[in-house]
């Protein structure tokens, strides 16, 4: 069974790059370009892990995270924050709200991100 990964990322290029890499590694990929649709997709497509950006149009990543964790239907879906913010307080906030990890996009290659996901998926 292929593991399903949901990418919530508003930058089209990054979203497509990440999807391409994940698909090539044998994962099932779904994606959303903003917070609201991302939240809906967590519920509907039931991914095995979510890659969540923080700066999003409409509601931001922290709000998506908070709401997903509040909803009993989606509370157990592991969420990994993938953002270019990365100050101590952002990381702490994300982890406190229930993110499994916080990765700064500029510091990790797609392969390194997938390696981190593997740890969570297993």
């Amino acid at each position: 069974m292929f593991k399903k990964i949901l990418i919530i990322e508003d930058d089209k290029f990054l979203r497509e790059l990440m999807s391409k890499k994940l698909l090539s590694m044998g994962y099932d990929v779904v994606s959303a370009a903003d917070g609201e649709s991302g939240l809906v997709m967590i519920k509907e497509s039931k991914p095995d892990v979510v890659l969540l950006d923080l700066i999003l149009p409409g509601i931001n990543g922290f709000e998506v995270l908070e709401m997903a964790k509040k909803d009993p239907e989606t509370a157990n879906v592991p969420i990994v924050i993938l953002s270019n913010l990365g100050q101590g307080e952002d990381i702490e906030k994300g982890l406190k709200l229930g993110a499994k990890d916080f990765l700064v996009k500029a510091h990790f290659t797609p392969q390194e991100i997938i390696n981190k996901l593997k740890i969570i998926l297993d």
Partner: protein, 387 residues
């Protein structure tokens, strides 16, 4: 007999005339002096009334004698309700808590010596306070300097840097990811010379990402928010981790690294492990960068008194005497090392110094051009709070 009386009368009149004249002179002088004093006072009051800083002059009984206009706005009282009041009465209440704590000593509630201390007294009011003790009689001048505007500009600058850093990271991530995928063969195999070219581009891009991190750190330092979380921890662990992570780099340059850590466990230090790690890493990277191939680096940790001292010694090119004074300044890079290693933001030591000093530690070095450099930093064992 009549002549004697007449002479005596003349003598007395003369005396009276002279005394009268002297008294009139004294009166005149006194009147002049009085007029001058009034003029001086008027001058002083004119100056004080037109000052933009808040000034309070207290007499030796802590009673307000003179104020400047901004003080009226600050206390939200009329001048007549401030002048003549005891400052300790005026500072009562929750609103003035921060000010009270800064100005008044706990034991005897007298005014403390304060020099340019910043205090936030309300949501939109930041002040810089100074007290000046005027004479042996105990008169005190309290100066309130409004820095609210300055603080706001500082805040806007650092917010701008944070946003800019984030915005810059986005396209750089795109370049990083794309290059990595092409180099890893995800979109087809590359010829060797294509690979080499793109590898260099990748490295260049990584440098930009690293520079943005450095700039972000600098802006955080200047915001005063650089140390994020301090917890008791082992400096030894931080050093070991950084050394571990540098093995590749050392191997590439065929360098020897020896580490000397005392057998007895060092006491825990109250440190922000991530930031201290950055400090150690900067020092180690410099040692590697500025030492020619085959050189050696020695690191040691030692407890001396109530401090832990970190020492890193290299056999590198050394720092010329003329550069010693500027070594910790922002963007400074010595001429001798720019020639050997064109990379480098010049922010490493500035950042490192700030990290160490935020831990109430000290950083210093010894260096001789052509022989090598030794950097030291100390961190006190009893740090009570973040600076």
């Amino acid at each position: 007999m009549y002549e004697e009386k007449a002479n005596f009368k003349e003598g007395t009149d003369e005396t009276f005339r002279r005394v009268r004249g002297a008294l009139l002179n004294v009166l005149e002088d006194t009147d002049e002096a009085r007029k001058e004093a009034v003029n001086e006072k008027n001058k002083t009051m004119a100056i004080v009334e037109n000052l933009t800083d808040g000034i309070l002059l207290l007499n030796n009984k802590n009673v307000v004698e003179i104020i400047s206009h901004p003080v009226v706005d600050f206390f939200k009282k009329d001048e007549k309700d401030i002048v003549g009041q005891d400052i300790r009465e005026l500072l009562k209440g929750e609103d003035f808590k921060a000010l009270r704590e800064l100005l008044m000593s706990e034991e005897d509630k007298n005014i403390k010596i304060v020099h340019k201390q910043e205090v936030s007294v309300a949501k939109n009011m930041d002040l810089e306070l100074t007290t000046v003790f005027l004479s042996k009689e105990g008169e005190v001048l309290i100066i309130f300097h409004d820095i609210t505007g300055d603080k706001l500009v500082e805040k806007m600058k650092t917010e701008f840097v944070s946003i800019a850093a984030h915005q810059l990271r986005t396209p750089l991530s795109a370049i990083k990811w794309t290059l990595r995928m092409v180099l890893d063969g995800d979109v087809g195999e590359l010829e060797d010379d294509q690979k080499e070219l793109l590898e260099k581009t990748y490295i260049s891009n990584e440098r930009m990402i690293s520079l943005i991190n450095d700039l972000l750190n600098i802006s955080r330092i200047e915001e005063g928010k650089f140390l994020y979380r301090q917890e008791p921890g082992q400096l030894e662990d931080v050093v070991k981790a950084i050394v571990e992570g540098s093995q590749e780099l050392l191997k590439m340059k065929k360098m020897k690294l020896s580490v000397d850590i005392p057998k007895e466990k060092l006491p825990d230090l109250n440190i922000d492990k991530e930031k201290v790690g950055i400090a150690v890493q900067n020092l180690l990277e410099n040692a590697v960068k500025y030492t020619p191939e085959g050189g050696s680096i020695h690191i040691s940790l030692e407890k001396i008194g109530r401090e832990i001292i970190f020492k890193i010694k290299d056999t590198g090119v050394g720092i010329p005497g003329s550069d010693h004074k500027r070594i910790f300044t922002k963007f400074f890079r010595g001429d001798n090392i720019i020639k050997m290693e064109t990379e480098g933001s010049g922010l490493g030591l500035y950042t490192t110094k700030n990290i160490i000093e935020a831990h109430q530690g000290k950083i210093w070095f010894e260096s001789k051009e052509g022989e090598g450099t030794t950097f030291y930093f100390s961190i006190p064992i009893d740090i009570d709070r973040l600076v």
